[in-house]
């Protein structure tokens, strides 16, 4: 019903657009140039005003009134049976809702049936009231805008102001969401630190990670929340991945942009970009099922013992996943280096190699650095591949042939495990927050580098 109202408001707004536009024309008897704003701005203003008023009314009245009804019904229930606990009262109310809509309730006693009647009557009033008020406001706002139409009426400026406000609102929503997420991370992190008695150093520098094994009465054991093994695992896998991805990605970008013929480029580049479209879960089982056994078997052949889940397998596959990001972005920036620079170098008798190494790559460096950074942040945040191929045990080792675990894997384990959410959330959020800080710092540092470089050569 409310959806129908929403579309009715839109239809009304559209009608006001048409009316406003033709009214603007008729106000000046067809001499459109006498208007301050062109007719469609008058129409647009009427449309926007009516739509905004109607939709706001729908949202505000719909939710506020609804919440008010729920509250008063709860109060009624508590008044009728004062011995009910709040949760039982809510159960009665939800049963009443179910009965009112003809659904199945847990019980149907006199109170519930009485409440169901209340729900029905108040609900109907609420519904029709909301519809009437919001449609009424739509019409009023539209009529007001149309009544205002006059040659000097600055409809264009007003509608531009409205558009600007709406754009600002969306930007604010985006920023506030981010802030909200960060705030909740911080909040949970503080909770967690409180839980381990503010022994933050034990989290940051401890080497034993087994948070859920030390839980006593909801309290974590500070000696078992050392995050070092996780960050070490993340670091190792990221390094392996970048060792695979950066050389291959960069060299293939150089090949594509400066050596490949147009025909090779035409199919090689889409092929590379296709790699970027493969879901990471596919890479994950490729790593776990194909590459890891292969590495183990070839290790055995030369007398090495390699765990069936190893940092090496996960890192290599993650590197393969990152290749297209680096190669595609680097190819774009290398291509953006003007041909005139290459010509200048060739004109001095430089070879292709010298030109690329000494002119093209330095000119493209800021872009290449950001491509690599993007790759690093993908690697740090990647979860699926490591869940499947790197192992779960928090194992502090420098040997890439052993199983390691990463920050993201541990977050997954904590959240999907069957420990109570309130206990598991603390370490998970804290890991998330720390990871966020690390990537943020890394990004800032890289921005600095790029900026310094830009200053030198722009």
């Amino acid at each position: 019903m409310l959806t129908v109202t929403f579309f009715a408001i839109l239809a009304l707004a559209l009608a006001f657009y048409l009316v406003g536009r033709s009214r603007a024309v008729s106000v000046v008897g067809g001499e459109v140039h006498q208007l301050h704003s062109r007719p469609n701005f008058h129409g647009t203003l009427a449309m926007m005003l009516s739509a905004i008023c109607g939709i706001l009314a729908l949202l505000v009245i719909g939710t506020a009134w609804g919440a008010y009804i729920e509250r008063s019904l709860l109060a009624d229930i508590m008044a009728a049976q004062p011995d009910l606990t709040p949760i039982e009262a809510e159960l009665v109310l939800s049963d009443a809702h179910a009965l009112a809509s003809g659904g199945i309730a847990s019980r149907s006693d006199a109170l519930r049936i009485a409440m169901a009647e209340q729900v029905t009557s108040k609900g109907a009033l609420h519904q029709w009231g909301t519809i009437a008020v919001s449609l009424g406001l739509t019409v009023l706002a539209g009529l007001w805008a149309i009544a205002k139409i006059a040659p000097e009426w600055r409809a264009r400026n007003r509608s531009e102001t409205i558009v600007r406000r709406v754009l600002m609102l969306t930007a604010i929503i985006a920023v506030l969401t981010t802030v909200g997420i960060v705030m909740s991370l911080i909040f949970e992190t503080i909770n967690f630190f409180d839980n381990i008695d503010w022994q933050i150093h034990k989290f940051l520098f401890g080497t034993t990670w087994s948070p859920l094994s030390g839980v006593q009465a909801g309290k974590l054991d500070p000696d078992k929340v050392g995050a070092i093994p996780l960050f070490a695992g993340t670091l190792m896998i990221t390094v392996i991945a970048m060792l695979v991805a950066v050389p291959i990605g960069l060299l293939s970008a150089i090949y594509l942009s400066d050596f490949a013929s147009a025909r090779v480029r035409a199919w090689a580049k889409p092929m590379l970009e296709l790699l970027a479209g493969i879901p990471t879960v596919v890479y994950g089982f490729f790593a776990a099922i194909t590459l890891a056994p292969f590495i183990r078997n070839s290790g055995e052949a030369i007398g090495l013992t390699i765990a069936s889940e190893s940092a090496l397998a996960a890192g290599i596959v993650m590197g393969i996943m990152i290749i297209p990001f680096i190669s595609s972005l680097s190819d774009d920036v290398i291509n953006a280096v003007p041909q005139s620079l290459r010509d200048g170098s060739y004109g001095l008798g430089a070879t292709k190699g010298e030109t690329i190494r000494q002119v093209v790559l330095p000119a493209a460096l800021p872009g290449i650095v950001s491509a690599v950074l993007l790759g690093v942040s993908r690697a740090v945040g990647e979860t699926m591949i490591v869940v499947m191929a790197a192992g779960q045990g928090a194992n502090l080792t420098a040997n890439p042939l052993e199983a390691v675990t990463t920050v993201t894997v541990q977050i997954v384990m904590l959240i999907t495990g069957d420990t109570e959410a309130s206990t598991a959330a603390g370490p998970a959020f804290t890991l998330g927050f720390t990871l966020f800080c690390v990537t943020l710092l890394m990004n800032i540092a890289a921005q600095r580098v790029v900026h310094k470089y830009r200053e030198l050569y722009d």
Partner: protein
Amino acid sequence: MSKNIKISAKNVDVFYGDTHAIKGVDVEIEDKSVTAFIGPSGCGKSTFLRCINRMNDTIDICRVTGDILLEGEDIYAKSIDPVQLRARVGMVFQKPNPFPKSIYDNVAYGPTIHGLAKNKAELDEIVEQSLRRAAIWDEVKDRLHQPGTGLSGGQQQRLCIGRAIATAPEVLLMDEPCSALDPIATAQVEELIDELRASYTVVIVTHSMQQAARVSQKTAFFHLGNVVEYGDTDKIFTNPEDSRTESYITGRIG
């Protein structure tokens, strides 16, 4: 006054895809002299100039036919390495294109890759000499290690001239080297060209009749991809044979 022929082009045609940009051009460029190419915009001066050091190789759609001989050797022959050719035949481009490196490194680039300097002191010397000859030393001597891209357009152009002469080519191709320069810098560059003539062969494209008349010994007038007239500069400017040449230099076509 008979001079050696440094570059000899015979029946050269250039195509950009289907565009026929140069049509059967024959030109003989004398050693240790300045040759000017003049002609209206789009007539193919730059295109022909780029043929002489095979810069057109870098354009996929460009096709060159005919013979261009440098000291009797066909530069389009299989045995010729375009990289070596371009070290002998340097080029200053129509648009200044300094590398995103320091001023010093811009000039040192050519000498370094060709191993012209045995040590840092020699390299410093080459850089200074080249910048002096390009009439920009005084302006940049205190900021040699700042980026070349931070110079003004005219300074960039002189930097590019300095960069080209630092490589010590035998032939220097200059595509409108003074188009972004003020009269003082123009006079300095013209002086440089005059001085270069003693040891190098210079080919210059210019839109300024006065400049062509001042600096060159020979002038070629290009029109719609053809060389309409080629001969001694004095003769072209005082007594042209072709009516189109006359119209152009007196300003009636352009």
